[in-house]
């Protein structure tokens, strides 16, 4: 330790007061504390702000019906994303049997369907209607990933389905 040694000088006469020398050392502990606090802060803020990206591959639009993907009716589940974060769903090709669910409970619906259908037949059709938000669509795509569904498609709803949704919405009072 480099303590400053204060030499007592004997040159001064007996009447001269000794001026007390203060140590030149400064306690650096608070400064170090502050330094490390800032370091921790910067480390945390830099890692958190990394945005992630979700891959999305869209199919080419074709007019050729031969190229359309054939889906087994028994294996299909159609999810219609409506307004007010409500999902309408029906099995097979039967919009009349439409049921309602929410984003929290839709996983159960999908998993139930997945468990009861052979993996090769399972096909999920996502139809976001004009009032669905972007968040709804992304959440649904994410849900496909979470539930490990490999075959799904995003399609526009048919006019029939629109009117059905509108009726249900009017009945339920969703704005």
């Amino acid at each position: 330790m480099a303590e400053m040694e204060v030499k007592e000088s004997s040159k001064k006469g007996p009447g001269v007061k000794k001026s007390k020398k203060h140590s030149t050392r400064v306690d650096l502990t608070p400064m170090v504390d502050l330094g490390f606090l800032l370091i921790t802060f910067f480390i945390f803020t830099t890692t958190v702000s990394q945005a992630t990206a979700m891959d999305l591959n869209m199919p080419k639009d074709t007019k050729d019906p031969k190229l359309d993907m054939k889906v087994k009716e028994s294996g299909s589940l159609t999810l219609l994303l409506g307004k007010g974060n409500v999902i309408y769903y029906y099995f097979k090709n039967d919009p009349a049997t439409m049921q309602t669910t929410t984003y929290k409970d839709v996983r159960d619906v999908i998993l139930k369907k997945k468990a009861s259908t052979p993996a090769t037949d399972l096909f999920i059709i996502i139809k976001p209607d004009k009032d669905a938000t972007y968040e709804n669509a992304v959440n649904m795509l994410d849900e496909m990933k979470i539930d490990d569904i490999s075959r799904y498609a995003m399609v526009d709803p048919s006019p029939d389905e629109y009117s059905k949704i509108e009726q249900t919405e009017a009945a339920a009072g969703i704005k």
């Binding site: 306690d27 650096l28 800032l38 370091i39 910067f42 990394q50 992304v138 979470i146």
Partner: protein, 220 residues
């Protein structure tokens, strides 16, 4: 008898080297930190379980804000050539000053017809005006022209197409954006999202656990 004197060491430690190290690290982290590019338009993207980090280079970013307005961000080096290419396609000649203004503008958020006058505005003036957004409806989808100009400039070099939508934006706007891409034969996009943890007990969670186990076995 004289007792053996035990020399007492000082308990105070010299903090100087530690302080040096601390501040060296601090400077390093401050300089190395990549701050979020201050986007002029606040957008709150949805969250997803995707772990992939968004590409930071060679990108074309289409942003949709909560009022369904579409903005376009592109890398700085692309700006001038893209504007010239767009001018060629649309038979508009831009003056060097206009190109310079365009390069300095943070983003494209207007119809092409209003582009030059909009680029002249200072950031303060932009805050005060209502930004119209790039038209993307099926009747007049100008985003298509922007994308095609960018593709021509890149001459087949790969480009990352980022779409950053706000939670509250309508799906129909997103669909229009996708349509603009599809018209240019682009079918692969990256949707910018916030990272979210995989829900416990879900299929994906189970699978990733299994993969981890297998990975460990393979490593042994």
């Amino acid at each position: 008898m004289a007792r053996a004197k035990i020399k007492r060491g000082s308990t105070s430690v010299d903090m100087t080297p530690m302080c040096d190290v601390a501040f060296l690290l601090l400077t390093f982290f401050i300089l190395a930190a990549q701050f979020k590019p201050a986007s002029a338009v606040p957008i709150n993207p949805p969250s997803s379980v995707s772990q992939k980090v968004a590409p930071q280079k060679n990108f074309l970013n289409v942003s949709i804000d909560k009022n369904n307005k579409v903005y376009l961000y592109m890398s700085q080096e692309l700006k001038a050539p893209v504007l010239e290419e767009l001018g060629k396609e649309r038979n508009i000649t831009f003056t060097p000053q206009e190109i310079k203004d365009f390069e300095q503008a943070a983003y494209i958020g207007t119809p092409i017809s209003q582009l030059t006058q909009f680029d002249k505005l200072t950031p303060e003036q932009i805050k005060a005006t209502i930004i119209p957004g790039i038209p993307v409806d099926s009747a007049n989808n100008e985003l298509t022209s922007w994308i095609s100009a960018t593709i021509t400039v890149r001459m087949g070099e790969p480009l990352n197409y980022l779409i950053k939508g706000d939670d509250a934006s309508k799906y129909s706007t997103f669909e229009n954006v996708i349509d603009a891409f599809k018209k240019n034969d682009v079918y692969k996009y990256n949707l910018i999202t916030n990272a979210k943890d995989v829900p416990q007990g879900s299929e994906l969670y189970k699978r990733s656990l299994e993969e981890q186990k297998e990975g460990k076995k393979g490593g042994e």
